[in-house]
């Protein structure tokens, strides 16, 4: 009877349709303006679903609570969730009408016809690329391997510990240290990138056939002269006790639609906690905003939290906006491709739309899925966010601008401003539209409102040139008069003097 009740309840829950523009409780969205001051903003994203493990049923069986889930990956309308503590990977299918259904629960893969179980898998990746479409990679962490699976969960390659004992341990992982893959990603050429725990030499890179190719993307260690001086005067014992100057350890990675790798790190005092790496491992992120994408700018202690944001996950939504997830305060920060902050939402707490221990973030188009890996009952949950009307307007404005439809983007930016007059990028968007349409004066006015020096300079250059061309005769004659008058006056004075004297 109890079981039936549960089932009915679940059926009811599944049957409740969600509207596209959710009107749930607010997320306390805000943004930072050019003076680094936080200002409130309307919600761009709102919670449309809050899914606990016990809400999910597969073949009539309750899945039970998630235990420390660590990773999410979206592929088509399938969402892959690495439920680490339960040693399983859950596949949830999301339908157009915003309902969902569990499409599969995987606790093992088939290796040569034999099932091989997962042990605390911390990462899952499904390829969207041509050539490997639908193939799955699982970071089977405690088994110290990465499994490359086909779409039917049969093992294609098993990638184990890459260590080979050689003198030069800089290029390889020595046998005596564990290989604990945590997050995986594959680029269009089939190269596999693994973020492994306790490795600070960057990402581990594997070839298509699973052979270890080396480390990539380790950020350079900067040794300041002051550090060097103190290291120089320290005794060997003191030197031992000093904090080792090692590169930062990445904690998550994400491959964007162009095949570049976004990495995050939660280490403190880092200038670039989120970076975009090219195939060479160089950081190519554009940071043109008023501040680098570092999350919160105000670090005041409150609610037991202080210090900078600690990024743990990153994802890119289709119009090149990237969103980073902050573990310290449970917030999501959206930046555009130029590095301008768009909006911040979420927060610490147990309500829906708030997080206790963020672990992963992914997106299905513009829909966001955030995973809370909190410990304890009912703490681990999957939260779905959808764009609000305001968020849609910003999205359209970006779309139009990127396609070169400046007049349309101008209309959308105006709509955005009607809802939120504090949205700085809208002024810049309008100014750029004016600049492209040739209204230099208006462009200058709007650039000035946001203190956009570069844009203002460009608009003013055009404006000045046109003004000079239009008023050329006035300027030329003015200059001519200025040149002619002094000698004339001088000669007149001279003549007068001569007349007076004579």
């Amino acid at each position: 009877m109890k079981k039936l009740c549960c089932f009915l309840l679940a059926a009811m829950l599944l049957a409740v349709p969600f509207t596209a523009f959710a009107s749930g409780p607010t997320n306390f969205t805000y943004t930072y303006n050019q003076w680094h001051t936080p200002i409130p903003s309307p919600d761009a994203y709102r919670v449309t679903a809050y899914i606990l493990g016990q809400h999910l049923y597969f073949n009539g069986e309750n899945l039970g609570q998630f235990r420390e889930p660590q990773d999410l990956h979206a592929h088509g309308n399938l969402l892959y969730l690495a439920d680490t503590g339960n040693d399983r990977i859950i596949v949830i299918e999301f339908f157009e009408d915003t309902t969902w259904e569990v499409a599969g629960v995987h606790t093992y893969a088939m290796l040569d016809g034999e099932p091989t179980t997962f042990d605390r898998p911390r990462g899952v990746f499904v390829s969207d690329w041509y050539g490997s479409y639908g193939e799955i990679w699982v970071a089977d962490t405690h088994n110290q391997r990465v499994l490359h699976l086909d779409a039917d969960w049969n093992v294609i390659t098993e990638i184990g510990h890459p260590g080979i004992y050689v003198e030069d341990v800089r290029s390889l992982l020595p046998y005596y240290s564990d290989f604990l893959p945590a997050k995986v990603a594959v680029d269009f050429s089939g190269r596999l990138f693994v973020q492994a725990l306790h490795i600070n030499r960057g990402l581990m890179e594997f070839d298509r056939d699973g052979t270890f190719a080396g480390y990539m993307g380790a950020p350079e260690v900067v040794v300041t002269p002051i550090d060097q001086f103190f290291r120089f005067i320290a005794t060997p014992a003191q030197r031992e006790a000093m904090i080792l100057n090692v590169p930062v350890e990445y904690n998550n990675l994400h491959i964007d639609s162009q095949g570049f790798i976004f990495v995050t790190t939660s280490q403190e005092d880092i200038e670039f906690p989120v970076a975009r790496l090219n195939a060479m491992g160089e950081d190519i992120m554009i940071r043109n905003g008023w501040y680098y994408p570092i999350g919160d700018l105000w670090w005041g202690a409150g609610a037991d939290r202080s210090g900078p944001s600690e990024f743990v996950a990153v994802t890119t939504i289709p119009n090149d906006i990237f969103i980073v997830f902050d573990r310290n305060r449970g917030r999501l920060f959206a930046y555009d491709s130029q590095g301008h902050l768009l909006y911040v939402f979420g927060g610490p707490g147990n309500r829906e739309g708030f997080f206790t221990f963020p672990t992963a973030l992914t997106n299905m188009g513009f829909t966001l899925f955030a995973l809370d890996g909190g410990h304890g009952p009912n703490a681990s949950a999957l939260t779905r966010f959808d764009l609000t009307e305001y968020g849609e307007l910003i999205k359209y404005a970006f779309d139009m601008y990127q396609r070169g439809l400046y007049e349309e983007s101008y209309l959308y930016w105006n709509e955005v401003l009607r809802i939120n007059g504090n949205f700085g990028l809208a002024y810049i968007g309008i100014a750029r539209a004016h600049l492209r349409m040739g209204n230099y004066r208006e462009a200058m006015r709007f650039f000035r409102l946001q203190s956009d020096t570069l844009g203002y300079g460009r608009a003013f250059n055009f404006y000045r040139r046109i003004w000079m061309e239009e008023n050329f005769w006035i300027i030329a004659s003015g200059l001519g008069v200025l040149i002619i008058i002094p000698p004339v006056v001088k000669t007149i004075k001279k003549l007068r003097k001569e007349i007076n004297e004579s």
């Binding site: 003076w35 000035r448 203190s451 020096t453 570069l454 203002y456 300079g457 003013f460 000045r464």
Partner: protein, 223 residues
Amino acid sequence: MTAVKKRLQNDSFRHYLKSLKFSLYTMRRPLDGFWDLIHEKRGSMAAAHTIVITFVLVQIVYLTQSNFWWIDIPMESFSSLIVVLNIVLPILLFSLANWCLTTLFDGKGRIRDIYMGYAYAMVPQLLIRAAIVPLTFILTSDEVMIPIMLSQISNLWFYILILCAMKQIHDYTFGKALLTTIVSLSAMGIMVFIFLMFFAVVSDGMAYFYSLGQEILFRIRRG
């Protein structure tokens, strides 16, 4: 009309105008100018005050009215009073510190002479800042080097003028003028430090006596 004419014929007012105009001469011929400023009485305190007040006004206009790519201060945190203090306090402190120091080292200048010299030395900076404000509306941010260069020139000019002023006012050699100027800068720092310490001690003392009084009052009330 007649009042204005009378004013213009008034000797002291004419001296004031002449001394104000003399600031343009000290700017170009500092060694000669600063000697005459004090020893030939060609400068006046009134002109020095005028220069300082004008400098404050120009500085306020410069900080608020320049184009945003040159100076961008959030207006809600801008205070004219701070600008006034930033300009007037260093002048007074420098005059005092320099006078204290130079009287010990055979300086000829009185405190008002030092004040006058400092004020007259500020003139090129005043003029260049006033010129930069309209310039930022003609130039774009690509040509930012021009106002940067101008303000650097004005700073250098100011240092040279101050040195010349110290040399001529106190009848020193250049080396001695440089030394006393630098030492009086550190004396300014010491003075500020003593001021701050004095106020901190006084406010602590006040707090002590206040709490003592309160304690006594409480005891009396409790009976």
